[in-house]
């Protein structure tokens, strides 16, 4: 690999120099100048590009507690569907490991004919696949995130903190089906327990049919190696399911014949349901259809009446977004928004909507319908379905996971915008 790399680099360098030489010759022919020094960027910046010195894009927010560290993506500034890797959210329950890719491997074992360990070199030899897919923490936009009560760790109520633990990236890696073909699945195999290399050896499980259908061990994120916080050098990626299934810093895949009752999945993510007499719902898996207006959104201010584009993101863990409706009158009337290409399954879909603000107080919101015909519910519908008390958001006693209620933003007369989900 090494000799190969230096060979390729040598080639690129040669090509670049040749290109520059041609440019320099042209310039001197036109201007008569004899200076043949290479124009352009400062030295030693060619390998990995940097932001322009004056570019100051919004950065991530952070909260830290004894149980979690969380980074929030600045969604209000997003256009299109791809989250820059540098702005990708993170939620971690324990120490982030530092792993040397040269000595890294993960193991596939359990109900297989041949337990196998795979190195990074092995992964790069195996059949590859890449998918643009959303990834969303199963607590994203849940009731607590709409409250700033001044307690430690309460955050500004903006789209960055209400909805900012989600992303959409191009993930590249090896399909689990290819890995499992090497190992050979036994007849009884039906579940996969994934284990990570973090301080808690985090584990979580997925059904084998899902694993074979569309899951991968990912080692590339938007064409680059995974970020440290995203599981470098390799992670499981499970499209459409709550992000906890996509175990980072993958250590092993253990094939079993039943779901294993890992703590996070069977305890921490089992949530009481008022409509089920407070029995706890567990193994929810899929993110239902959801959308949010990213701009204009809470915390921003409209300075004058007039035209503003309403733009936002819609997605569904079940498939593609079929349509997004937008209301600019507090939900009285709805009009279809434009969906921007590409519209991919289990991926963020960008929607846009022309709007002229009259200067009057109003509330704007969006509603996603997916290709299964399922419609994003309003808060009232969700509360009714889950038997939740209407104001159960300060100290929620029942389920707040996989929260997909329609998100209303109120525009006040002075143009300031606020979150009125629980108003």
């Amino acid at each position: 690999m090494n000799s190969n790399q230096s060979g390729r680099r040598g080639f690129l360098k040669g090509a670049a120099l040749a290109g520059l030489a041609v440019g320099a010759q042209k310039a001197s022919a036109q201007t008569g100048l004899t200076n043949t020094a290479a124009p352009g960027a400062p030295p030693n910046t060619h390998e990995h590009g940097q932001l322009a010195p004056n570019a100051k894009p919004a950065g991530r927010g952070v909260t830290k507690s004894i149980t979690h560290t969380t980074y929030y993506t600045p969604l209000a500034d997003s256009v299109g569907i791809i989250t820059p890797a540098s702005l990708h959210f993170m939620q971690s329950h324990s120490r982030l490991p530092q792993i040397d890719p040269a000595t890294y491997s993960f193991t596939v074992h359990g109900l297989v004919d041949r337990p196998l360990s795979f190195t990074m070199d092995d992964l790069k030899r195996l059949p590859s696949v890449s998918k643009i897919r959303f990834l969303e923490c199963l607590g994203n936009s849940s009731p607590r995130r709409h409250v700033n009560d001044g307690k430690p760790n309460s955050t500004p109520v903006t789209v960055q903190y209400t909805h900012g633990v989600m992303s959409c990236n191009e993930w590249g890696g090896v399909p689990l089906s290819a890995l499992f073909k090497e190992a050979g699945l036994k007849k009884e195999a039906s579940w996969v327990v994934a284990e990570g290399n973090d301080g808690s050896k985090y584990n979580y499980c997925i059904p084998l049919t899902k694993a074979l259908d569309d899951c991968m061990v990912a080692y590339l994120q938007n064409g680059e190696p995974l970020r440290q916080e995203q599981g470098f050098p390799a992670r499981l990626f499970v499209p459409g399911f709550g992000a906890n299934h996509s175990v980072k810093w993958l250590r092993r895949l253990y094939i079993t014949d039943e779901p294993y009752m890992t703590w996070d999945q069977s305890v921490h993510h089992a949530a009481a349901r008022a409509d089920m007499a407070y029995k706890s719902r567990w193994f929810n898996f899929v993110w239902p259809p959801k959308s949010v207006i990213t701009r204009p959104s809470a915390g921003l201010k409209l300075n004058t009446p007039g035209y503003y584009e309403i733009t936002g993101l819609a997605w569904s863990g079940w498939g593609k977004v079929k349509k997004v409706d937008v209301s600019v009158d507090g939900g009285k009337t709805w009009k279809e928004a434009r969906l921007q290409d590409p519209v991919l399954p289990m991926a963020h879909t960008r929607f846009n909507f022309d709007w002229t603000w009259t200067g009057e107080e109003t509330t704007i919101m969006s509603r996603c319908t997916d290709d299964q015909g399922e419609v994003q519910p309003s808060l009232a519908e969700l509360n009714k379905h889950w038997g939740r008390a209407e104001k159960d958001h300060l100290e929620p006693k029942s389920n707040t996971h996989y929260w997909n209620a329609i998100q209303p933003w109120k525009v006040a007369k002075d143009g300031s915008i606020s979150d009125v989900l629980f108003a």
């Binding site: 004894i66 149980t67 324990s94 491997s105 193991t107 596939v108 074992h109 337990p115 196998l116 360990s117 795979f118 190195t119 092995d122 030899r125 195996l126 890995l179 073909k181 090497e182 327990v193 284990e195 301080g199 808690s200 050896k201 059904p207 049919t209 250590r251 253990y254 079993t256 779901p259 294993y260 009752m261 890992t262 703590w263 069977s266 305890v267 949530a271 009481a272 089920m276 007499a277 407070y278 029995k279 706890s280 719902r281 567990w282 193994f283 898996f285 899929v286 239902p288 079940w318 299964q372 399922e374 519910p377 969700l382 889950w386 100290e395 929620p396 006693k397 029942s398 389920n399 997909n404």
Partner: protein
């Protein structure tokens, strides 16, 4: 780099190879072939990865412990974060019941941490074994994990103080809250699928 199912053949040899090539790409042969990528993991390699415990207790290591031993370990290694008797401190509450008197009733989302909420005693072993004490996960020996699990189960009123927890007994502990999880049997894909916010 080489893939066992891909090769280059000079053109003039192709007619000669047609029969063989046909066999190679015939259904169930060509692409389904393994590439022999990946290093076989020995039993020792897998042992070194540590245990993953099934709900019924498959994978539990040898060893044993009682609540009494567990109480001593708890006082040294857990008390700082989880409180004197599991009532919670900087970290989660671990106990809501009392010895001999398990907590009755449902658990709301505000109190779903204590062991009495958990559906499987084996999850308590699996989690503490891999993750606790926080930031020093994986440092407890099997006897110590059995003991501290026994202590927490005893404090919750689920087992007796003298019960020995080991490879055979731990998986058989009936957790009182087990009937309160839905769906009773975990299935994929969910049936019926809709509405998906179910």
């Amino acid at each position: 780099m080489s893939y066992s199912h891909r090769f280059l053949v000079p053109g003039f040899l192709l007619p000669l190879m047609t029969v063989g090539a046909f066999l190679l790409v015939a259904p169930g042969v060509g692409f389904a072939q393994r590439s022999n990528i990946g290093r076989p993991a020995s039993e020792e390699d897998i042992r070194n990865l540590g245990v993953i415990i099934s709900p019924g207790g498959k994978g539990l290591p040898q060893g044993k412990g009682t609540a009494k031993e567990g109480g001593e370990l708890y006082a040294k290694q857990c008390v700082a974060c989880h409180g004197k008797t599991g009532e919670g401190g900087v970290a989660d509450q671990l106990v809501m019941g009392k010895p001999g008197a398990p907590r009755k009733g449902m658990y709301s989302d505000l109190d779903r941490h204590p062991i009495g909420f958990w559906a499987y005693s084996t999850t308590v072993f699996d989690y503490i074994n891999r993750a606790m004490p926080a930031n020093r996960g994986g440092t407890l020996k099997p006897d110590e994990v059995y003991a501290v699990v026994a202590y927490l189960l005893y404090m919750e009123g689920i087992i007796k103080e003298t019960d020995v927890m080991d490879q055979d007994t731990l998986g058989k502990v009936q957790m009182p809250n087990r009937p309160n999880f839905l769906p009773e049997r975990v299935v994929w894909p969910p049936n019926p699928k809709k509405p998906s916010w179910y």
